[in-house]
């Protein structure tokens, strides 16, 4: 980003629109985390754009005093891709809910990820449809009883990080709305990444799915239930790091007691590994937010960014053929003169 960026405060990044989420909604803390973080990123408000779809989460852009678009349900990744390709000079963030980005918008999301276009994609996962008053979502657990599934839902939920890695994502992380510092760290890392960065934020919808993540995000539960991934470090958790993750002889990851298995047996987290297999395996460690769940950066690898490459092709074309000459173009097919 450009130098001599004026120093700003949270206030500078807060729009004048009153925030309209339910009291106690997890979206508030995510908003605060970002508004407090932006001044630290050394970016300009005018070069920052938030694009969203539709949903409670998708109201996000209205509250950031940047450029923004509250578009239509599910299409934010596609719209943002066009913007980022047209304007590689901008910081483009995409915000949406689990329905917005994994249900109706699933295809745009996975294509944005494989394209590795320079978008910072924040998925607010509350495992429910909030704005439409509480139907189950693609991340809702099996058997979820909602207005649309009075006898329980039948579909196996998506694991958003598995989907992202299966879709060739270059940056994949997870955080949650109860830990501002961790959210900010993830957002900062995502912002540093050149390319599509996907961050899943566990977000509590206290009206329609209250406590969905309580078992792992409660202060007193975190030590035992959150597995902090740190690149280059053996994967450990528990109050005194007494538990860890190791690769079993059968090639499957498992949680082990460190004193039994020994520290050397622990898997050392390598977020930069080209091969996504291990990162994928880590996404499978917990089958839901009720088992010890990895958070942090699962994957962060370098791959050419889409808009830059497109830009490079334009430059190359001008190199080879000179800047476009309209008169010449109109004469580029066989011509003849009538006098």
């Amino acid at each position: 980003m450009s130098t001599d960026v004026p120093t700003t405060t949270r206030a500078d990044w807060s729009s004048d629109q009153e925030v309209r989420w339910c009291p106690g909604c997890g979206d508030y803390s995510i908003l605060a985390a970002l508004q407090f973080l932006m001044p630290e990123l050394g970016v300009r408000r005018e070069n920052t754009v938030f694009v969203s779809g539709i949903g409670c989460a998708a109201r996000f852009p209205y509250y950031m005093d940047t450029y923004g678009m509250h578009s239509i349900h599910g299409r934010a990744p596609a719209i943002a891709t066009g913007l980022a390709m047209a304007r590689p000079d901008l910081d483009v963030w995409v915000v949406g809910g689990d329905g917005d980005m994994l249900s109706i918008g699933g295809n745009h999301l996975i294509h944005a990820l494989r394209r590795n276009v320079n978008l910072k994609i924040l998925l607010f996962n509350n495992m429910i449809y909030g704005l439409t008053k509480g139907q189950y979502s693609p991340t809702s657990e099996v058997g979820k009883v909602t207005k649309s599934t009075p006898m329980g839902s039948l579909e196996t939920p998506f694991n958003p990080l598995s989907v992202a890695i299966g879709a060739e994502a270059t940056f994949v992380a997870r955080t949650h709305d109860m830990d501002r510092a961790h959210m900010q760290e993830m957002f900062r890392r995502a912002h540093q990444h050149q390319g599509a960065a996907f961050v899943e934020v566990y977000q509590n919808c206290n009206v329609f799915n209250d406590g969905a993540f309580g078992a792992i995000t409660r202060k007193d539960a975190r030590d035992e239930m959150l597995i902090n991934l740190v690149h280059g470090q053996p994967i450990r958790f528990g109050k005194d790091g007494e538990k860890g993750v190791a690769m079993g002889s059968d090639g499957a990851l498992q949680v082990v007691a460190v004193d039994e298995a020994g520290v050397d047996a622990l898997l050392v987290h390598d977020a930069h590994r080209e091969d996504p297999s291990l990162a994928f395996a880590l996404t499978r460690l917990a089958s839901g937010p009720y088992e010890p769940t990895p958070v942090g950066v699962f994957r962060d690898v370098a791959r050419p960014e889409y808009a830059e490459q497109a830009q490079a092709q334009l430059a190359a074309a001008q190199e080879q053929r000179g800047p476009g000459d309209l008169a010449k173009l109109l004469r580029s097919q066989p011509t003849w003169t009538v006098s």
Partner: protein
């Protein structure tokens, strides 16, 4: 020319319609194309009509596999690919079967004799051999063993017979080139160009072409030796161009005129794909093309680019327009420029993907939920696609609105000579971005209101990167002026009306519709889109019968030109020919309460001038 003039008696005719028909594999499109180019360079006026199956390569020898190319060349100004061909080149029985009924009575059939054997005949559904029975009694038949002659000619070269056989279309081309006195150099040059590096192919094709040409000279075809003199077209530099290329160039030209980069978001679909292909070649114009995952993403990406200060364009055909509806509705609400190009094809659903139709007008007009008005522009000829693209882009940029540009499969692939305009002939497209606050906030400090309109109801366009003008826009109803989300009932009503007036107001910025022919005629033919050529010719023929008829053709379908009502009022009868079941006719009947009558055709083919002449004369009785 000299070399053709050289040979003996050449009968002169003022026009010729030739139809090349053969198997998808026989290269008929290429053959027709080459003949057309040669005629263009020779200076004829011309119009073409390519037709091919929906399959990449339908089964050889079958009717379904027939691919044909009709070209109309003349020594005067023409507007259609012609009605009944005077000459049919049939490379196999299926081609003869499929197209013979189109040939004019007494016309000439040139057949590749070799192809008329058992298997092909049955595949084509012929009991006997039409060359031997009286199927062709009514026509002049020229039987030429093209395959064997081609193989024979290529013996000298070291090409396998099977490969040599492939060159038989060049033999046909050579033969017709001689018959109709086409210059040979352009074709020979083209062969060398096109197959550069593949010497044997060049050799085979050249040899076949020359063999065909020689065959004409030597065989007793003298009385078929015909010539069509160059047309007296307005002076200038000409090129031959099809509608999709012209449309793509028009988009580039508009972007240049406006000094706004062009962004194309598209998803391949027949018959629109070629615009994507063409634009992706012009990256040196700063043209960005993105093949999206689907049509919705294509439109979305284009809209995102427009938000970023580019001119977003998305090209597709009917099914894609249906899918883009919701995104276009968002563009209406955001009041951002967006050009949506619909190359119409036969519907409904997948319909007839490679055939032409013009049945998306009402979709363009009404295909969005809520009150969601937008301007509609329609091209009326292959070359007009260039100008229509510029006009659509001009309106989108000037009025910050999505515009739907309608073309169709016939215009897309049809070609005609085009006098290349001087750049000074192109309209200026001034676009200014907002750079300053345009209002004062409650506490007296300057603020930017994205929906504070000017006298033309146009909202300012501030692009990301502009300090101080940060703002948010979205699909929820917005407060007039500030653009903040508003659920106020009165505000909603105001905004709905403002959006409608904004589009209606564009009528003041478009040319009045012109009436050609007899302004005092009782009968006015009101057209839009690709029916223009057929209507013009039909009207001439009607006049030739001593009757009066006028023609008005709409380029702007929404809003209508301000004088349209007055024009319609001047004529007792209004006829509206359309390649659908009557769509424009509904709009004018509703708007002007005139008892306009519909003339429709939904055969996946353009009107012929003859059909329209009959229809118009019929209405006069």
């Amino acid at each position: 020319m000299t070399d053709t003039a050289a040979h003996g008696s050449v009968r002169e005719v003022d026009r010729l319609i030739i139809r090349f028909a053969g198997d998808s594999g026989d290269g008929m499109q290429l053959t027709g194309d080459r003949f057309t180019s040669a005629s263009a360079l020779f200076g004829n006026d011309l119009a073409t009509l390519p037709e091919f199956p929906a399959e990449i390569r339908a089964p050889a020898g079958t009717l379904a596999g027939v691919s044909s190319f009709q070209v109309h060349i003349s020594d005067h100004d023409i507007t259609t690919p012609g009605d009944a061909p005077t000459v049919l080149v049939a490379m196999n029985p299926a081609a003869l079967k499929a197209d013979l009924d189109k040939l004019e009575r007494g016309g000439t059939v040139i057949v590749n004799e070799d192809a008329f054997e058992e298997r092909n005949l049955t595949k084509a559904g012929y009991a006997g051999n039409p060359l031997d029975d009286d199927t062709l009694a009514a026509y002049t038949v020229i039987r030429v063993p093209m395959t064997s002659l081609t193989k024979e000619a290529c013996k000298a070269l070291d090409v396998k017979p099977r490969d040599a056989e492939r060159s038989k279309n060049f033999f046909a081309l050579g033969l017709v080139s001689w018959m109709f006195s086409r210059p040979v150099e352009p074709t020979l040059d083209w062969i060398n160009q096109r197959f550069k590096g593949r010497d044997t192919v060049i050799a085979a094709n050249t040899t076949a072409f020359q063999a065909g040409h020689a065959y004409g000279e030597t065989a007793e075809l003298a009385d078929s030796h015909v010539m069509v003199r160059p047309a007296k077209l307005p002076p200038g530099l000409y090129t031959q161009i099809n509608g999709n290329t012209a449309l793509a160039w028009g988009l580039v030209a508009a972007s240049q005129q406006a000094q706004i980069p062009l962004f194309l978001g598209s998803y391949p679909i027949t018959p629109a794909s070629d615009i994507l292909h063409e634009l992706s070649k012009h990256k040196n114009f700063g043209v960005r093309t993105m093949q999206a995952e689907d049509e919705i993403a294509a439109a979305g990406a284009a809209l995102g680019a427009s938000f970023g200060g580019h001119i977003g364009v998305t090209t597709t055909s009917g099914p894609g327009v249906a899918l883009k509806s919701e995104t276009i509705g968002l563009a209406v609400s955001l009041e951002l420029p967006l050009v949506v190009v619909d190359i119409q094809r036969g519907g409904p659903s997948t319909g007839l993907p490679t055939k032409t139709e013009a049945a998306d007008l009402l979709l363009a007009m009404f295909g969005r939920h809520g009150e969601s008005p937008l301007p509609i522009v329609a091209a009326y000829s292959p070359t007009h696609c260039f100008w229509a693209a510029i006009e659509a882009t001009r309106i989108a940029l000037t009025y910050r609105t999505p515009v739907i540009l309608l073309s169709d499969g016939y215009l897309a692939n049809g070609t005609e000579p085009w006098r290349i305009p001087d750049l000074s002939e192109l309209p200026a497209i001034p676009v200014t971005f907002a750079t300053e606050p345009n209002h004062v906030g409650p506490d007296g400090e300057p603020v930017y209101w994205p929906y504070l309109r000017d006298e033309n109801l146009i909202r300012p366009w501030a692009v990301p990167g502009t300090p101080g003008l940060e703002h948010r826009i979205g699909g929820l109803e917005k407060e007039d002026g500030s653009g903040n989300v508003s659920y106020d009932p009165a505000n909603h009503s105001r905004m709905v009306h403002l959006r409608a007036e904004r589009i209606a107001h564009i009528a003041t910025d478009i040319p009045p519709v012109e009436v050609t022919g007899d302004v005092d005629a009782d009968v006015l033919v009101l057209g839009w889109g690709s029916t223009w050529g057929a209507i013009e010719t039909a009207c001439e023929r009607v006049r030739a019968t001593g009757q009066k008829v006028a023609h008005a053709h709409l380029v702007h379908l929404n809003p209508f030109p301000p004088n349209l009502g007055e024009v319609l009022g001047r004529h007792r009868t209004v006829l509206v020919p359309e390649l659908n079941l009557g769509q424009l006719v509904r709009l004018v009947r509703d708007r002007y309460l005139v008892d306009a009558k519909s003339i429709t055709k939904v055969f996946g083919q353009p009107f012929t001038a003859a059909e329209l002449t009959d229809a118009i004369l019929g209405e006069m009785r």
